[in-house]
Symmetry: C2
Subunit: 135 residues, 2 copies
Amino acid sequence: MEHNCEAVREANVSFYRAFEMLDIKRMEDIWSKGDYIKCIHPGWPVCAGWVEVRDSWVLIFNHTRAIKFSIDLLDIRILGDWAYVVCMESISTQEQEAWVDGKVLATNLFEWRGGQWQVFHHHGSPLVTNEAPAA
Amino acid sequence: MEHNCEAVREANVSFYRAFEMLDIKRMEDIWSKGDYIKCIHPGWPVCAGWVEVRDSWVLIFNHTRAIKFSIDLLDIRILGDWAYVVCMESISTQEQEAWVDGKVLATNLFEWRGGQWQVFHHHGSPLVTNEAPAA
């Protein structure tokens, strides 16, 4: 089957929409359940396999009041039933009454399973910037 | 062509050996030169394309007195002419007269070009640990 980048872009959007909505069911829908799946949250050790990956999202969702993403796509490539996305996440998180901004670089890898693109690897890491935090 | 994980593991070893040797020629040999190649050093913005990636290694090598790696492989997967490596880098760098330890998680992606596995994507990010730095 010939794949196109638009479907991969949409899968990437779905991943961040699930994160913004703090919705574990939506996050579950977008992830592969292969035993090789991995998730590296900024600064965390590797979470491997769906049980660990799911627990990490539940923990994050439970400790997040509100979060918004703006995604700059830096690359999308498709190789057979694999897809590769590199993007910069501009993130605003609500802390107490203020919104705090940050930037994270992400490598997101997808595989084609059951008629959809599913995440099998997410690696996010903080981008160190000199910008002052937003008020 | 059927690939095997051992050749990918060896390519990953070559990447870290080039880094330890602070040898830009060896680093050049192990990288793909595709215009899509990307390198994310811990905390840095994305370097894209061989000119930027090469410059980043030259900068790092020029500012590194000595560095040693111990690599824990967490996963290797091959999909066609792509390979995926996740590993933890235990790093010792020589600062003044002391060695400083740190840990970095890396996603390394390889592609099969010209009869060898070449890096086309390196994403390294600091693992936050509670261990005291080595003396």
